[in-house]
């Protein structure tokens, strides 16, 4: 009888938000072109660990399965990334899965990413167009600028940059690269730029821009290849100018 090829997993599990994490090992039959999610589905179909004991199926988040929604991020062999594009054939075994600990763990590999959505609200990461009357069409954006801005707009709030950052942790209130790059995006938009100074003020407050220590892990880890550190450095320049204007007074607060 041919020996069945298998895939080994070591999963960091946690039953509730407050309980202690533990490791559980799984060994499942190999299939060609497996990714981490299809393996997790296989375990869910038959939740038996390596020792042959019946266990609970692993909880994790997923949605689009094509690396555009950002939901399925987790630490895979120590590095944060999307589990949908983590191909088993390209991973060293045993494959270690762990939740992104920078975020509160809800259960197993599922984390609560709401802090990122909260900071997006804090930095006003939108283009305000509502008024009491029709404001009419906004200024046009040059096509080449649109193409550049499109790269920044690829952010899917997956949380990988926050997980990779040594300065985003429980000891610091640094908001991380993700919302900062969005400030750059919305400040670059012709209509969004009308609130440019407000966004700058927000990221110049505690936990903002200055939390960055330039380890540049974010730009190395971003699954969408967003130039996060360039965004941060560009915002540093804007913040420098803005701080002088704020100190000395200026009639160029917005433009």
């Amino acid at each position: 009888m041919n020996e069945q090829k298998t895939v080994r997993f070591i999963v960091t599990r946690q039953d509730t938000a407050d309980s202690a994490p533990y490791n559980e090992e799984f060994e499942i039959p190999y299939r060609p072109n497996m990714n981490v999610i299809s393996a997790l589905m296989e375990i869910r179909r038959n939740p038996v660990n390596k020792k042959g004991e019946k266990t609970t199926p692993i909880t994790w988040d997923m949605n689009c399965l094509e690396e555009v929604c950002g939901a399925c991020s987790m630490n895979i062999n120590g590095k944060p990334r999307q589990s949908c594009t983590a191909l088993v054939d390209q991973l060293e075994q045993p494959i270690r899965l762990a939740p992104m600990n920078t975020f509160p763990v809800t259960r197993d590999l599922q984390v609560d990413r709401s802090r990122m959505f909260d900071t997006l609200k804090r930095v006003k990461a939108w283009v305000p167009i509502d008024g009491t009357y029709d404001l009419g069409p906004g200024p046009r954006m040059p096509e080449r600028k649109r193409q550049w801005a499109y790269e920044l707009s690829k952010c899917m709030t997956c949380g990988v940059c926050l997980e990779a950052c040594p300065n985003v942790n429980s000891k610091s209130d640094f908001i991380g690269a993700q919302p900062l790059s969005q400030v750059r995006l919305f400040n670059a938009h012709p209509t969004g730029a009308m609130n440019r100074d407000e966004r700058l003020e927000t990221i110049m407050s505690d936990g903002g821009l200055e939390g960055c220590g330039n380890s540049q892990n974010c730009v190395q880890s971003c699954p969408k290849g967003i130039p996060l550190t360039t965004s941060i450095a560009a915002l540093n320049r804007e913040a420098t100018v803005h701080s002088f204007r704020r100190f000395f007074g200026s009639d160029h607060a917005v433009d």
Binding site: P166, S172, D206, G207, C212, G213, N214, S215, Q220
Partner: protein, 203 residues
């Protein structure tokens, strides 16, 4: 720090003080030390000149002690709020990030000892001269301590110069940051040669 929105000011001040005046002072200090390579007489003359500058206490306080104290204390806070992760993210800049924090702490220990051994002793009446340094560096343990301390101070300054350029928005694009990396590498090598030559002049 308390949530009073001073972080921006403190961080920028910390970054600025590291270069001006602390970095400039360190460079000047290393250059003056280099007189030791020309002999005892020349070194003592240069050291005397520096020690007898007019308003020396005010100069020392404003250019060295106060900036250094702020930079050190706030720097410790920065260093210990980081959660280093070079194990899983072994990228060049992450290494520099970690080494910047380690070298900062090492430099703080070194400078504390160095100030005690020289400037504080001078206040108690000791003569800070070639002889004094020769005696200190005669001890092989102190020699190693001084080499490590001086190199870590120079590394901290050079890499801090890079962070300064990025932090103030001088180097924004990846290419400009790369060029600044090479430039600060040259600063590190040149200052290290000056610093080490001075140390070995006493041995």
């Amino acid at each position: 720090m308390v949530a009073d929105n001073r972080e921006f000011f403190y961080r920028r001040l910390h970054s600025l003080l590291g270069v001006i005046p602390i970095g400039l002072f360190m460079t000047q200090h290393l250059v003056v030390n280099h007189f030791a390579t020309q002999g005892e007489e020349e070194f003592n003359q240069a050291a005397d000149f520096m020690a007898n500058l007019p308003f020396v206490l005010i100069l020392e306080s404003l250019v060295i002690f106060l900036p250094l104290l702020f930079h050190a204390i706030y720097g410790l806070y920065i260093a210990f709020t980081a959660k280093n992760n070079i194990g899983t993210h072994g990228y060049f800049r992450n290494w520099m990030f970690m080494l910047q924090r380690v070298s900062g702490v090492v430099t703080l220990v070194f400078i504390a000892w160095h100030v005690w051994e020289t400037r504080v002793q001078a206040a108690f009446g000791a003569d800070v001269d070639f002889q004094m340094m020769e005696n200190i560096l005669n001890n092989p343990f102190m020699l190693v301590f001084y080499i490590v301390g001086v190199l870590s101070a120079i590394f901290h300054f050079s890499n801090g110069l890079w962070s300064f350029c990025v932090g103030w928005g001088i180097a924004v694009s990846p290419r400009s940051q790369q060029i600044v990396t090479y430039a600060t590498l040259i600063v590190f090598v040149v200052l290290s040669i000056i610093g080490l030559r001075a140390i070995f002049a006493f041995v």
